[in-house]
Amino acid sequence: MATPLRSPILTTLRVRHRKSTEKLRSDQLKALRKGFAEIKKLSDTNGFWFWAELHGAPKNKCEHSPESGYDNLFLPWHRAYLYRLELALQTKVPAATLPWWDWTATRAGSGVPAIYEDISGELNPLAGADFPPSIVSQVEAAGMPGSTWRQPGAPSLLPSGAEVKAILEIKDFDYFSKTLEVQLHNKVHGWVRGSMGIVALAAYDPLFWAHHTMVDRLWYLWQDLHSARGPRPGIWNKILRGGLDLTVGDVLDTHALGYDYAASTANREVKP
């Protein structure tokens, strides 16, 4: 029998849990590292560079604070973007999920999550990445390194639990989204500095994906807290740009995308 071009939607789709960077079990961290290592080797549409170059240089398709009067697609666009990279990871390593960087936890410790730092004597695929041939000469011509770099500030300057709580309590979605973006998301990009502080280069740093998973988690928590989706129905049919192949409506419910957020998880296989 011929293989169908697209698999039918699984009615028994398993919901996967995205977990905190601080609470990954060793097997979960191993899967994450292996996933990033594998997709960095690829030059096709599952490749790390393929997705990283969509956000900033050279494709510049990310959505951020628009001028008043334009639809704010910051949260839907980045949810779809994370989802597509996570699918690429899971194509190579099915157990891999994107973890979330709890800024409020690491502000009392390392700042940058320890699993994203260099490991003595080993190559950690989460510690950074080279820039692709499509931009590296321009990056170097601008006086910057040929791979990602960070210059983080003092950990205590990361957002506090009180700041996050205050923003989650905002009822109006547009005000919530814009405040989350400008006051927390932008702040953390500027806190990491280096390539993470540059829109054109940020997504090449694997830390970007943990940062944005935290942002996405806060939208998820806001949805739960306020029993609301967020974006107005008038834009649910809007296609998220850059070849993400999803509409705003497609990304309103994380369960429909097959994931949920958890602090940590543990499983026991039960055999009949």
Partner: protein, 153 residues
């Protein structure tokens, strides 16, 4: 611009209705915000035109709040890559908004406005000091085209 202060002859009037504050929230809205160059924090002070990155982030020092700009960095494209086009060049020009299209941002400054009213002020000036994460003032990154004070009841 390196920093911004409202012109001395054009401060904001404190928002009062029949002599009383009648708002739940007050926002400063920045329109036409540019985001070329480095990321930075825009620290907002009321009636503190000489504020620096060392000025304490407290109401007593005039601090009202901050906004954070995620800067695009240097141009990494061909010539004119970072020139923002004026608009569609054809009715079917459905290309995405340019990556350097101007943005808007809002900062809630309710406490600082209430403080100005409590201090008996009838008006106040606004100063924005662009600062990086190392508390250094950053030069020539701040850009916006209009500043509004908006209250909500």
């Amino acid at each position: 611009m390196e920093r911004y202060s409202t012109p001395p002859d054009k401060p904001f009037a404190v928002p009062l209705w029949e002599g009383q504050p009648d708002f739940q929230r007050a926002d400063l809205q920045f329109h036409g915000v540019g985001h070329r160059g480095d990321s930075y924090e825009g620290r907002i002070f009321f009636d503190a035109p000489d504020a620096t990155p060392a000025t304490p982030l407290e109401l007593d020092s005039g601090y009202a709040g901050s906004f954070y700009v995620f800067g695009h960095g240097p141009c990494l494209g061909d010539e004119d890559h970072c020139e923002v086009p004026a608009g569609p060049i054809h009715p079917f020009d459905y290309r995405s908004v340019h990556h350097l299209a101007l943005q808007s941002m809002a900062v809630t400054v309710t406490e600082a406005v209430r403080r100005a009213i409590a201090d008996g002020k009838s008006e106040f000036g606004v100063t924005v000091v662009p600062t990086n994460v190392r508390d250094e003032e950053v030069g020539d990154t701040l850009h916006f085209e209009r500043l509004s004070l908006v209250t909500y009841d």
